[in-house]
Point group: C2
Chain length 211, copies 2
């Protein structure tokens, strides 16, 4: 065992673990560069060549990690969707009234939407994805809407949320949160947390003064 | 004069007025068909040929009305932007407290966003437009945001709107309104007016119950 590991240390090739790790790091770099370009120029205007050039590598190297541009886009939106769903699970775990859980969810949702993968989720039109990816993307978005709508309904029962049409209320709040991706400026005066808190406060308290 | 007009009536060619009207009707048909396709498939996936085929005409006929696809898209978003701005002017004319004017504006804004040209405004990414069109598009959107923000500030002064960051509150409400374009289903149970009223009610009253 000891001899074996001493031998391995002398090899100029990385071990299996290190290779897997290195591959992950590189795949991640492709995704992060691609999502920035998609968000800036749009999916259609970004070529695999653009991504390769930005990373100082060749197009075939990209194909070592992803089959095509569609797969890269899907992986980008999947990351964003996952983060939003994680935010929902974390909020449920915290417990409290439906309004408390909804606020915790909305705050984290808003913060995700200021990140590159979150921006990509809100800016990607269904028709930009391949048929199979589109189906999964739509299903995930519907799941998120339904999860939020469920909390809203619970709030109508426990009295922490105003009564109304839960679906319409869900779209009203997710609209505000998703729209952050359109106007948030990472170089602006407001941090993602400031934006999240302000947006959630307006949604919860309403535009009318409370007396 | 009478003889002249009698002569004209015998001509198989339409008069100047009729020709202008006919041209307008045809140009309008191109726009309405194009905006439907842009909204369904996206701008990039729609070709001038697709628009021509849908209208049962040839590509050169389209070029009789528009120089290129960019010009068609810009005209579509301009229509939507115009309708939103008209809604703002109409709301200001009605008068009342800042909240009353804001509510009137939000309601009409929401209804515009359920129409094809309104949907096109919210779905068109800046980078899809040509450089010159993009500049005008962005400027118009900024103008709308500023106009709403002004009413919000007025409401903080006249006491009809809760205090807060007017810009952040503006983005929170326009986000909800713009997002309607993403989920509104013209074949669904809710009419544009139902959606507008429900969305405005949630924004004004907030998610928290008023006691």
């Amino acid at each position: 065992m000891a001899a074996n590991s001493a031998l391995r240390r002398k090899s100029p090739w990385a071990g299996r673990e290190a290779r897997t790790r290195e591959r992950e790091v590189k795949r991640e770099a492709v995704l992060r560069t691609a999502v920035t370009l998609f968000n800036e120029r749009g999916f259609h205007a970004t070529s695999i060549d653009d991504v390769a050039t930005a990373l100082n590598i060749t197009k075939p190297t990209i194909y070592h990690y992803f089959a095509n541009k569609d797969e890269i886009l899907f992986e980008c939106v999947r990351r964003g969707i996952d983060s939003i769903q994680q935010a929902g699970l974390a909020a449920e775990k915290k417990g409290g009234s439906a309004m408390e859980r909804l606020c915790a969810y909305m705050r984290e949702y808003a913060i995700v939407v200021t990140t590159d993968f979150g921006i990509c989720v809100t800016r990607t039109a269904d028709h930009e994805l391949s048929a199979a990816a589109r189906k999964r993307f739509r299903a995930s978005k519907r799941e998120i809407d339904r999860a939020i709508s469920r909390v809203v309904e619970e709030g109508m029962i426990d009295g922490s949320i105003a009564t109304g049409d839960p679906r319409l209320m869900t779209f009203t709040l997710t609209g505000s949160l998703n729209w952050i991706a359109q106007w948030f400026d990472p170089k602006g005066a407001l941090s993602p947390e400031d934006v999240a808190d302000g947006c959630v406060a307006t949604l919860v308290q309403g535009l009318a003064p409370r007396r």
